[in-house]
Assembly symmetry: C2
């Protein structure tokens, strides 16, 4: 029996097995659900993942690739032999096979398509021709069709014939002579009615989408109407594929994570599993805009403040306040948002917390360092004499590094503490964190500026 505790026990078994030998680890993976196996392989080195993966049966390899994130799938697929890859592609449902081929690259794909069975190759070519983000790109071509003049018994016979090749829970679309979908029957409909009943008497209206429409439009339609399956048609209105509720769920979850991550200016993938440099670089564009905005604010302030009314150094320090507050706030919110979403999708499990925290602080420090250098150069160049400019630039730049690193740590620690204390991290990560990082940003800035300026004899 599968329960929510079992996978954690199995995960420990896998980790222990991995230390003993790849062979034992592969045996553990063979026994568990491919969704778990794929997650665990993401947390070991690429080399280890490949060694274990290579020892799995073709069927288990196919299952695992079906559940693996793009990064891991690419890593494994590029190491596979042509023969191994061909076998896996034959094993997979067509929509997943296309995803795997997408990771293998064009040259390998051409090879594979030349060596698989003609039927498989035709299916795959048809799917590859669609935009991967369109309804046609996510549909499956393994489904059972009924004709509007069939009886229920004919449809059941057809299902028995197709047997294991057809995907589950798709039900059966009914088409007319031209191949246009005109009806839909669920498997339950087939079970509850007599084999002598006429299909056209029992079928419901089918839901249909054009192959070139966006995959999100398809997923939204499936979710809105709680469909088991959505018919995909070509320009002539002929049924060419089917999208399942299962597919829709995956698309909508990716979409939600994408939206959340984009809102805080980072990329829509499993952030916490990427290398630190990649994560920092993906978050830099927002930081660039924030730095530019902060520097623009400094110019606006200097226009209004005018000369002479204040000590020039103190005034300069004040002008960079919006920059510090903006940067610290954005880094903190990025980190906390990535964690909140990571908790929700299961990406950041408890046993990864320490690793994720350390890496998020490192990402924050890296971003802080870069923004600090840019700010130093700008301030040193813009502000008064060389000596004064360097003093101000050093103060502001150092404060940026300190405040941003601190904001990253805060953005990592607050959601984790919340989860441990059973408080919804999303509530606190938003409201509290922004203000906390604002106040501490101001405080850090003033302490650093004060200390540095008095050390440099400019205070």
């Amino acid at each position: 029996m599968s329960s929510s505790e079992q996978p954690q026990v199995d995960h420990r078994r896998f980790q222990e097995a991995l230390e003993a030998s790849s062979k034992v680890a592969a045996e553990v993976l063979g026994d568990v659900h491919a969704a778990d196996a794929a997650t665990w392989l993401q947390d070991v080195t690429d080399e280890q993942a490949w060694e274990v993966f290579a020892l799995l049966s073709t069927e288990d390899q196919a299952d695992l690739l079906e559940h693996a994130e793009d990064g891991l799938a690419r890593e494994l697929v590029t190491r596979m032999s042509s023969k191994g890859l061909r076998e896996v592609v034959e094993e997979l449902p067509s929509d997943k096979a296309v995803d795997v081929l997408a990771e293998a690259g064009e040259r390998v794909t051409a090879d594979i398509l030349g060596s698989v069975s003609r039927e498989t190759a035709e299916d795959l070519r048809a799917l590859i021709s669609h935009n991967p983000e369109s309804a046609g790109g996510v549909m499956t071509t393994e489904f059972v069709l009924a004709r509007d003049d069939d009886r229920i018994g004919d449809v059941v016979k057809e299902i028995k014939k197709e047997g294991e090749d057809s995907e589950e829970n798709l039900g059966v679309f009914v088409v007319d002579k031209a191949g246009t979908p005109v009806g839909y029957l669920s498997d339950r409909d087939l079970l509850t009615h007599s084999i002598h009943d006429s299909v056209s008497d029992l079928m419901a209206e089918p839901f249909v989408i054009a192959a070139d429409e966006d995959q999100e439009a398809a997923a939204t339609m499936i979710a809105k109407y709680a469909l088991s399956a959505l018919a995909v048609v070509d320009e002539a209105g002929v049924l060419v594929g089917v999208i399942s509720l299962d597919d829709a769920q995956v698309i909508l979850e990716e979409e939600a994570t994408e939206d959340v991550h984009r809102l805080v200016g980072t990329s829509p993938t499993q952030q916490t599993r990427l290398p630190i440099l990649v994560r920092a670089s993906q978050r830099l564009p927002l930081m660039g805009i924030t730095v530019a905005g902060g520097l623009a604010s400094a110019q606006i302030l200097s226009a209004f403040l005018g000369p002479g009314t204040q000590s020039p150094i103190n005034e300069a320090i004040l002008r960079y306040l919006p920059l510090i507050v903006g940067l610290a706030g954005n880094v903190g919110v990025q980190t906390s948002t990535i964690l909140v979403r990571g908790f929700a999708t299961g990406e950041v499990e408890r046993n990864r917390e320490r690793e994720v925290f350390v890496s998020e602080v490192a990402v924050g420090a890296l971003i802080g360092l870069l923004c600090g250098v840019v700010t130093f150069l700008f301030a040193a160049w813009m502000e008064g004499s060389l000596e004064e400019g360097v003093a101000i630039g050093l103060s502001v730049g150092t404060a940026v590094v300190a405040a941003v690193t601190w904001a990253g740590a805060l953005g990592g620690a607050v959601p984790m503490l919340c989860r441990r204390m059973d408080i919804d991290p999303a509530v606190v990560a938003g409201a509290f964190l922004i203000s906390l990082s604002d106040i501490s940003g101001v405080a850090i800035y003033m302490v650093v500026a004060d200390q540095l300026l008095s050390t440099l004899g400019q205070g």
Copy 2:
């Protein structure tokens, strides 16, 4: 045939019908999918919605309530007669019936439970006893069971007997003599195998969750393992209900919206459909924290700036900068986030853009006004002489109102413009908007402060 254009045509038909008479409008609703009908009723007045709803058949009323948001469902349910409500409850699957009763209140629920059939009442009582946010609270009790010593033919017979009472796409859980789930068969398994085959030879391992576990844990498990159905068990391990992939999808989508909205400090419902006062009040807690943070920052700054180095008025104005920037940024991001999520879930359709924009600006202005008054009072009280304090307070307070209202307008306009220009609103709403509202917040503040102070003779 249903396509993605058809609902828009029907929506116009419904709107035209509504102007003619409720009766014609009810006829249109009777012809369309309940998911569409529920959305359209949300956009008319409560009075109109009720007039049309009252004219629907019991079956259509039940369908519509199954798809309606909590707010609309409550409005309709509280106006229904006991008799009407009882008929609807008998019509609905148990899990949805419980949701409807939750809107009706305890007294009405007790009445209804006393008057429905004994079987229905028992099912409903069992469900009501669970926490609505738990696995037990979202499970359905309409499902077909198989025994491990059954043959496939026995199960098919059982399904034919239960007929339309059982929900679709749940498949069949297999239990042992004690009622513990020991296996699972999909409807497709039943169709593809001989009626003489033994259930225990064909069944897969069941996925199981305890009734008191969180609904999110159940939904995450369903999504992770791509399950059609998850078995819910009581403390003794006995099967008491089933959760479908469909239910999981709804839970996960709500969860995603909830996370996003909470991250920006507002409540997890269809924000753009709530009254302006409610929306403003839900967003005030974050604003309160932001104001408190900004005022704390002002105090930190004054501690470091010390007396005498600057013109006291200019210095005071500078100290409130973090407050302005923080408030404007938060309001802008709240508004844009609500819109980005509203686009994704289909809550904010094109024809609602103008209405949503106007109401979001109003919400922003209301929040700005309140924060402005608080800031004015604080600054007037804290800063120097009465005259000076009032001058500074007026400047800062007025600037808060202007900057926050502007940020709300920006947060509304930018995502809408992006959508029209086919740019992903999430990318721009995050990065650009924060900096845009920071810079414009600073500029607005300085212009307002400069003008007001020179008018008041303090500049």
